[in-house]
Every structure is written in C-alpha cells, then in structure tokens.
Symmetry: C2
Subunit: 464 residues, 2 copies
C-alpha cells in the first residue's frame, strides 16, 4: 500500500476527536470546538439559500406548482428560474461542464470585480467541491518530483501538510511570528528559500491563509505586499487560501485579497496566483454542500489546460455546491422580498462570531499560563499554553506530544474537544491548541470558564 498515504496526518479529525466521539457515544456531553463546522454546533442555515436550493431541485414540479408561493417568496422563485436558465433543462440532475456551469462562474467573476476593483474572467474560475478539492488539484498539477517544494506557513491548516505528504513533495516551513500577530517576515521567507535551494528543493508554490487558520490574524496590505513580491521575484506560484474572507471581526482590519494587492503593487504584474474560496465558512457555514471555487490569475495556459483535464476526470463538482457558490457571491439585494430576513440572519451570525471571538480571547488571556493573540478573523484562536517540565516528561512517557496530553485531559475533564497545536505545527517548545468559537453563547461562554479551571487543575496536577 501507499507509503505516502501512510505518512499523511490530518489532526482536525485525529486522535482527540476519535476519543470525543467515543465519549459522546457513552453519553458524555461534548462541546465540539475542534472543527469549523458551524451548523453542527447550532448555527442556523440562511433561509433564502435553502429555499432557492430546494426549489431548483424541485425543478418543473416546483416552479410550475400552482401553490409555489405559499412556501417560496417571489424573489426565490425568480432566482430559481434564473438558475434553471443557467443549468438548462437538465436542471440539477446532469453533470455540468468540467469547470462548473458558466452562469455561476459569471456570478463569481462579477463578485470578484466588485470586491477587488479589478477585472475577473469566468474562464479563469473553476467551481469545486469545497476549497479542499481545488487545493488538491492544484498541488497535484504543480508538483512532479520529491524535490518539488511548497512553502507552508507554520502553524498551518493540516490539509496542506497532508496533501504534500500524499503527493510525496517537500514541505518547506516558514514560521509565522506569534509576537508580531502571526505575520510572515521577508527575512524568514528568504532564509527558508535559501535553505531549501541548498537542499536541492525547487520551490513551486507558497501557501498563505488569510484570515489565518488556525491563527486568526487578518493580514494587512504591507504583509501581503511582502508575500506577493517574494513570490513574484522568485517565480513562485502564490496559493491564497481566502476561505475566511467574510470572517473579519477586528474593527480596524479589513480583508484584502492577494489578487487586489498584487495588482496594486509594482513589480507584481506577473505574479502567478491561485486563490480559493468556499461555501463552508463565511457567514453561511454550508459545509455539507461542498461548494467553492478557485480563481487562476496569470497562470500559464498549458497548466490551466491540465487543471481542466484533471477536473474533467471527476466530471464536475456537485451542482448543489455550485448553486450555493452562486448564492454566496450574489445574495439578495435591497428591495428583494427576502432581503430583510437575509440581512437579519447574516448579521445575527456575524455579531455572534464577533462577540465570542472577543470573549474567548479575553477569557483565555485572564488565565495564568495561557496566552492568546486576538482573533481578528476566521473562526479560531490558537492560544499558547505553558506546560510544566513534569507534564512534558509525563507526555513523553505516554508517547504523546505534551499538548496532546493537555487536550486529552481537557476533553476528559470538561468535555471540550479541541485540536492540539502540534497538529498544525508550531515552534519547538511551544505548546497550545486550536479552538473554534462557533458554539452558541450559552455553550461557549461557560466553556471559557472550563478552559480556565481545567488549566488550573492541570497545572496543579503536574506542578514541577
């Protein structure tokens, strides 16, 4: 069997989560804060999106039903008809073209133009099953030999390390600076590149995650300029994971796309860039839908044709995910029947995330021995936890990382399921974990106290 698969690790569904599932099956109450899966922890779906989706699936039966307006608002019926026009008579039941239906890709391109103030082209958009499958197809296409490298931020979302291991390429780590709000410095990037060249590695691509996962920072223009220039100067393809672009809570921060910054930075005219978005995150949280897209920018036509061939082999991404992507980028507008409810629902989700992002960071920082950067965006915080020598030694005896020991104890004592920091990568000697702040206030606010009391108990138990 594949040695590459054997070596893969994917901590978001690793050891701690399996134990949590087991404890839950035994009747224990578990607070799942291990994964960005909002609707699994109480977030309600946005009504308009589901209504449109349902009506497109009903097809003629629904659209021509004399009572359709008892259940579906007028603008929902109109939108479902428009989607029907895009998909043609085949509706949601047929494979679309390999890149996804053209009409939805037009929606995405219009959204990108409005967002960035720069042109975008439907021909450069590929609709995908969530962002994950798009990222996989890009890495599959870019990498060829074991010495082909991908620069990955540390800490990172473990999809990247898992895919690089699967594709038997080389992962080149560049550390984000926790003291400097998880920014990547030019110096670090250059040093890591130099080292990898000495090792014979040919760096093909560099990943950024903005807003950050697991780290929650929102990169500013200057930080993005550094990245874009670095990639541009070194002929490295920039892979911009921007799935949390709607999740910005810090009042002094805004999301800037890598494409916008590249196009507004001199010397980056030829930067090769692929950016990713998803319906699973944002204020939608439609994870089960598996919708998303990638946009190619300055990518060589031959490479694009190979990405197209790869997409053809899986025939097409799921049509309901394609529809959800179109709805995400083109939601109800003022004056539409559904606008008011849509706004109310979306705002409710946003305000909840914002409130809890603050509460969790403040609560954790009050605990002696826990230190947590602000959650400016995304859905996560990634606190640092001070562990005693005794705890570290005990973990080693148990053949687990110290933060795995800590997270396992947290799970067993409090029912809170988080992911150990080691699953994302971190500096040697740093320990910590990632937690979401997705569960509703009534669950998340008391959980903050549980984090605190567990830390005190754990520290007492393993006091040096």
């Amino acid at each position: 069997m594949s040695q590459a698969v054997r070596k893969m690790q994917y901590a978001v569904r690793g050891q701690i989560v399996m134990m949590a599932d087991k404890l839950q099956a035994q009747g224990k109450d578990i607070i799942f804060t291990n994964i960005g899966n909002p609707q699994a922890v109480g977030q309600r779906p946005i009504t308009y999106f589901r209504q449109v989706l349902a009506l497109t699936d009903l097809g003629d039966y629904g659209l021509d039903h004399p009572e359709v307006n008892t259940m579906f608002p007028v603008d929902v019926v109109e939108r479902a008809r428009k989607i029907r026009e895009i998909l043609g008579d085949s509706g949601t039941g047929a494979y679309t073209g390999s890149q996804g239906a053209l009409g939805f890709r037009k929606d995405v391109a219009e959204f990108l133009e409005k967002r960035d103030g720069h042109p975008a082209y439907p021909g450069n958009i590929f609709l995908s099953n969530g962002a994950s499958s798009a990222i996989e197809s890009v890495l599959t296409t870019i990498m060829s030999t074991e010495l082909d490298g991908v620069m990955v931020p540390i800490p990172q979302y473990p999809l990247y390390s898992a895919l690089i291991a699967k594709l038997t390429g080389t992962q080149v780590d560049y550390y984000l600076d926790e003291e400097n709000n998880w920014a990547a410095s030019k110096q670090t990037l250059e040093e890591e590149l130099k080292k990898s060249i000495l090792d014979g590695v040919d760096v093909k691509a560099l990943v950024i995650i903005n807003p950050g996962n697991p780290t929650g920072q929102v990169s500013n223009r200057q930080e993005l300029e550094v990245i874009c220039k670095f990639c541009s100067d070194n002929g490295i393809v920039l892979l911009a994971d921007e799935v949390y672009q709607r999740n910005v809570y810090a009042p002094d921060k805004e999301f800037l796309s890598a494409k916008k910054v590249a196009l507004e930075t001199s010397g980056c005219e030829h930067l090769q860039l692929i950016s990713f978005h998803s319906t699973s995150k944002g204020l939608i949280g439609e994870c089960g839908r598996r919708g998303g897209y990638m946009e190619l920018h300055n990518i060589d036509g031959y490479v694009q044709s190979q990405l197209f061939k790869l997409a053809s082999c899986s025939l097409c991404s799921t049509v309901s995910g394609q529809i959800m992507t179109s709805l995400m980028v083109n939601p109800p507008q003022p004056g539409d029947d559904s606008y008011e409810l849509f706004q109310k629902e979306e705002n409710g989700i946003f305000e909840g995330l914002k409130r809890r992002s603050k509460a969790v960071v403040e609560g954790l920082n009050k605990v002696d021995g826990i230190n947590c950067n602000p959650a400016e965006g995304a859905m996560y915080v990634f606190p640092k936890v001070e562990l005693s020598k005794k705890a570290i030694a005990y973990a080693e005896e148990q053949d687990m990382t110290p933060d795995t020991l800590y997270c396992m104890s947290l799970l067993e004592e409090t029912g809170i399921c988080v992911v150990p920091g080691s699953g994302f990568g971190q500096k040697e000697g740093r320990y910590g974990f990632r937690t979401t702040f997705l569960p509703p206030d009534e669950q998340m606010i008391p959980a903050i106290e549980l984090f605190a009391s567990h830390h005190r108990d754990f520290s007492a138990k393993f006091a040096d």
Copy 2:
C-alpha cells in the same frame, strides 16, 4: 509541473467533445451521445427523490410549514423527517462523519443484504462523491511504486487509465474477447499476470466493470467465478465497478454482484473486494448530485484505516449525494403515497433504455461494415467499424487515430458526438466508437439512420 498529470488522458471529455461544444456554440444541433449523463439529454428526474431532497434542504422551515402538504406528499414529509433524524439538528448544512452519515450507510447495508442474500455492514461502507472519487481513493491507497500494477479490462472506462497515469503506477491490460461477448478468459488473465511478473510488476488490484462500460455486456456467474478465483488465488484485490447494476436489458441476463459470487464460490472466502455504486447511473441518472458508495469486503483493517484518513482529509462527501444514495437504495414501497408515480417514472425510464438499446444495436448491425455486440446492460454500445486503408492512411497524415477521424467526420456531417474507440483501448487494428442510447426515441431513432448514412458516405469518400 506534474509529468503524471501531463500523461493523463480522459477521452470522454476529449477532442471530439470540445469540437462538439464549439459547433454547438456556433448554432449547430448536436446529439450528445458521448457521455452517460441522462438528464442532460432529456431524462426527467424522479419526482419523489427531488421532493425529499428539497424538503430536507428546507429543514425546519419546510417541515414545520403549515402548508407543507400542498407541495409535498405525506410519505415525502415522513422520509424527510427520518433523514433529519439521521443527520441530527445540523440537517444538510454540516459536514458528516468522514465515511458519511451512519443512518445512510445502514440503508446501503440493508440494500446489499437484500440484493445478495449475504450480510453487509455499515462500518464497511464509505459514501463518496460519485463512484469516481471512491475509485480514486482506493487506487491512491493501494499503489505505492511505479511497479505496482492494476489489471484493467480493455476496452475500459478511461477513468482507470487516467488515475493509474496520475498515480504513476503500471496499467496491466487484459483484453476482453469481443467474439465471446466481451468475456475475460482465465487464460488471458493468467498470461497477462505472468508477463507482468516477468516485467517486475507487482499486481495489486484488478478492475472489472459489470455491466460493461463501454462494452455493454452483463457478466454471468461463470465469468465472475473465473475473475474471483483468479484474484483470490493471486492475492489481488478485486475492484468491482458495478455502477450499472440496475441497467440490465437482456431478458436472459441478471446482475450478479462480485460479492455474491465470491461468497458462493469455494476458494474465494478470503477474496479482498471493493465494489462501487453511484447515483449517476441506474434509472436515476442524478449525475450532478455526486452521490455514491463503496463497500469493503475482507479488506485489511489497517488499509481501511488509511482509506478513512484519506476520506477525513476531504472532510465528507456532499450531503445531498449521501441523501440521494439513501433514496436510491431505499425507494418508496408499495402502499406509500409516492409509490405509484415512482414506479411509473422508473419503468418509463427503464423501458425507454431497453427499447433504444435494442434499436441501436439492430440499426447499427444493418450497416455494412459496422458490427455491434448486444447491449445487454449499462448505457452504451461499442461497435466495430471497418475502415479502408485509405482512411487509415489519411488519419495518420492528420496525426489522429483512424477512429478519431471517423468520429470527427460523424460529428461534422451529422452532429452526433460519440467517443472514438481508441479512448477506451481496443485491439490493434480494431476501430470503432462508443455511443450511449440515452437521448429520447424521437432523437435517437433518427440518429440511427444518420450513423448508417454517414458510414456509407465516409466509406465512399475513402474507398480503397
């Protein structure tokens, strides 16, 4: 970039199809018979399936709506509630477990038990995005080095050759015998295995497609016994692509699963088998849904854990595909409100396919120079076409295979879009194409005459 991706070929969406899309954009009427995409060529969706799907997406809004029964029959509402119980409060918006929701896997296991008369276990079922993604994950897990081989029938569905190329393994061809209704002989299997061993290849798996794609045969028990015994004796994992199991038209044939035959054949007790099914084919044709499953049988627990890890990395298959899979294996039963309409719709689709499978084969066999085995099942025929030396020479001059020349001419002259035989593999010196018989009678029956007249014209044009 990846040399493996560069080498991949996927003819079902290759050169001819791109030309067809171009001609269609120019206003030419195209009859698309290149791909098993039933709803793209007029097949209507089954009402009950779409109603259940829509109502599950509507969630509380739909289930608690006072007027729900104006649009949704009582049994649809009940089924949507059951699905809601399986998915939990999160409904269709959350990631499920990596293998898919347990309740749906239970439905699949019950279906398999009824179908085969042998036990099946939800723990061995993985729900997937169509069959393609399951097949990819299995090949990814099984293959490790360039000398790891997979035996593939020729002609084959080109997903297999594409994936083996992508994974840089070795494809070991075994030819099906066209004179013997596309059966695989024991002698051929043994010879090919012997040859590959001499080449240093370690054959890990063998693929069968039953009913056949592109060849349309339905394998009988004896043929399947030969395959099962061969795999079992040689420690080869059997991969059974059974996505056309509901598409059997020959009155003297029935679908027998590889699992059933293996369990009823002495010496095959330990056969390692993975079988695949999909919601895209059958009488459903819900291609855009991307639903499907695989069942593992006698697969080593460690390999299964690696398949699970791989599934975890993509988080889960699309939930609407999971629901469609559950509906496919557990449709309305006699006495249910929706049963009569469901039966009528399904029968209509089946009878249409059966009628056209016969008409196409008979029509093609009437043409001098075209020879076509019966379409006992699946959605395709794979006729052999006699080409003149002049045509073959002309094709070579044009740097295309002779059957590509033929199919391009067919497209240009008649608007019928088929796939050249060379895209599936065939004996040297054999030429032909694959066509579906999916378009409705009013399009497909006149198309038969177009196949005939084109063949006469083409033969006259290139007469030796």
